[in-house]
């Protein structure tokens, strides 16, 4: 664990140098990658470690974002208390959603998480008096952690980098803890785990809430970065991008989702500058990854390499 912490701080230190060499475009891209990374890490807790495939993590991203936006603009709260209350609210909703979704498992769980997050999405669209509907909530501000402004691209980038580093380390600790061992156990043999004495439902529920927590953190980063929030943040497309990052990078590992999230963000930015067909491309990428490289890009490339060699 100490090794992971050391290496990740080192890597983060390297990435911190980016604003020295690159212009605002790439710095902002870096910030977007980090938001996507935290989101993908939260997704991976469920998909990769608990073996619970959810399609509704966007609910927590969007919920925290909307709560923060509403609390700072309509309720006049400062960013510190707004952030705290937003995350608290997100955790409570995650607990509630978990209670419902965990009545089923496998595909039923997936459908319920999808239905629940779509409900929040629909709520964001319709409850115009609170959320401003399709117009979204604009002209939001960024917080000033410890009095330091994060309005510039570089300063926000460093802020996001620190948050991402902390989230990575905390998630790594969780995954490698004794509890983490029980989580992966329920993924592999849930019946056996019950027979051994583990409360499988409780393990899953706690993990679900924890994943919701980190989804909320990603949501706060998201709303601070964009200074704007729109119902699309709660959409299935957002969840799809998140889960794509996880399966593209390789689920069940700590670093895989980060790499996958980076790839998806790159792809999205690249495509947006040339075409408007991101959704279609997202669909095709899903197809290709799932059919050709279901374990993720890294193992998939190894396999392609082996197949190519076998041809010769």
């Amino acid at each position: 664990m100490k090794r992971i912490a050391f290496l990740s701080v080192l890597v983060a230190g390297l990435f911190a140098l980016l604003p020295v060499f690159a212009g605002d475009f790439y710095i902002n891209l870096g910030s977007q990658i980090m938001i996507a990374a935290v989101f993908a890490l939260s997704f991976n807790l469920l998909v990769g470690y608990a073996g619970l495939t959810s399609l509704g993590q966007a609910a927590f991203l969007g919920l925290a974002a909307y709560l923060s936006a509403w609390l700072t603009t309509r309720a006049g709260l400062g960013h510190g208390s707004a952030a705290l209350l937003s995350i608290l609210g997100t955790i409570l909703v995650a607990a509630g959603f978990g209670l419902i979704a965990l009545r089923a498992s496998g595909l039923g769980f997936l459908m319920i998480t999808l239905a629940l997050s779509q409900v929040l999405w629909g709520l964001a669209y319709r409850w115009v008096s609170v959320t401003n509907g399709d117009n979204g909530m604009t002209r939001l501000s960024r917080p000033q952690p410890l009095g330091i402004s994060i309005d510039s691209a570089a300063s926000f980038y460093w802020f996001a980098l620190i948050v991402t580093l902390v989230s990575f380390i905390l998630i790594a600790i969780f995954v490698r803890s004794a509890f983490g061992d029980s989580v992966t156990g329920t993924r592999d043999q849930s019946r056996r785990m019950s027979a051994l004495g583990y409360n499988v439902w409780m393990i899953r529920w706690i993990t679900f809430i924890y994943a919701g927590f980190w989804g909320g953190i990603a949501g706060l980063l998201y709303v601070y970065y964009n200074k704007y929030i729109h119902p699309t943040s709660l959409s299935i497309t957002t969840s799809a991008e998140g889960i794509l990052g996880v399966i593209a990078g390789g689920s069940g590992t700590l670093v895989g989702p980060i790499i996958g999230a980076a790839l998806v963000t790159f792809l999205k930015n690249y495509v947006s500058s040339y075409l408007e067909r991101w959704n279609m491309l997202l669909g095709f990428v899903f197809l290709i990854i799932v059919v050709v490289m279901p374990d993720g890009i890294v193992p998939g490339l190894h396999r392609l390499q082996a197949m190519w060699r076998a041809r010769k």
């Binding site: 490698r176 803890s177 004794a178 061992d181 592999d188 043999q189 785990m193 027979a195 051994l196 004495g197």
Partner: protein, 248 residues
């Protein structure tokens, strides 16, 4: 209730139907502490169903289950494990990509409160204990190999080791000899024979010959009903037992 009257396991009138088909019909078993009881019967006799009812995998339609005097009929499976019940499965349900040591560690961790610790990794003493358990079954040399890489007979030994690691008061063995070569059977049999009397054993087997050595008393089942019960000698010489097996 006098302590010496408490049965390790008592089932009272257990009944279970699956879609109209009776799988278990009014099964009442009494197993004394330290006993080695064999649940015998041809395939389809409902032996695994009874196990599933005892462990809580499935709820009975009617009937009660008592573990050392305590009514556990409505207790969820994981809590029965905490009351001293352990089981092995007919089909290997180990964690295939994890090492042998990790598998046994999970078994040990299950009953400790440290399993809820979200900060600290599983403590070293649990890992050490896991290795000790593996050495008791002669598998310490494979401790760091993933389950998927070891032989079938060795996997069976890991299953039993995992269950024994929890020092259960009641051990349920579901066809522990299935699919093993005769040499492997011998080693499993001696392993089971060496289990201390603090652990009561209830075992399922459908092959009469191989299992008889391990059992002191036998409950013979057919179509979910108890046909004959008694000591080894009594059951073997019983006419009904021969009828049950004659058709097979």
């Amino acid at each position: 209730m006098n302590a010496s009257n408490v049965y390790a396991l008592e089932t009272i009138g257990l009944c279970k139907q699956f879609g109209g088909l009776p799988a278990t019909q009014d099964v009442s078993i009494k197993v004394r502490p330290g006993e080695r009881r064999l649940l015998l019967g041809p395939n389809g006799a409902g032996k695994t169903t009874i196990f599933n009812l005892i462990t809580g995998d499935r709820p009975p339609d009617s009937g009660r289950i008592r573990l050392f005097g305590e009514d556990v009929t409505n207790l969820p499976t994981h809590q029965r494990a905490h009351r001293g019940m352990s089981r092995t499965y007919q089909i290997i349900t180990l964690f295939p990509h994890d090492t042998l040591e990790h598998n046994v560690t999970l078994g040990l961790l299950a009953l400790r409160s440290s399993r809820w610790n979200i900060f600290r990794p599983t403590s070293k003493d649990i890992h050490d204990e896991a290795r000790r358990v593996l050495s008791l079954v002669g598998l310490e040399h494979l401790a760091d190999r993933p389950i998927a890489e070891i032989a079938y007979g060795e996997k069976r030994r890991v299953e039993i080791a995992m269950a024994l690691a929890q020092k259960p008061k009641l051990l349920l063995l579901d066809e522990p000899l299935a699919g093993l070569s005769s040499a492997e059977r011998k080693s499993i049999k001696s392993l089971v024979a060496s289990i201390p009397r603090e652990t009561t054993i209830l075992m399922i087997e459908h092959d009469m010959d191989t299992a008889l050595d391990l059992a002191e008393s036998i409950t013979l089942l057919h179509y979910g009903k108890i046909i004959v019960e008694g000591t080894r000698q009594e059951v073997i010489s019983d006419q009904r037992a021969r009828e049950v097996y004659l058709g097979h």
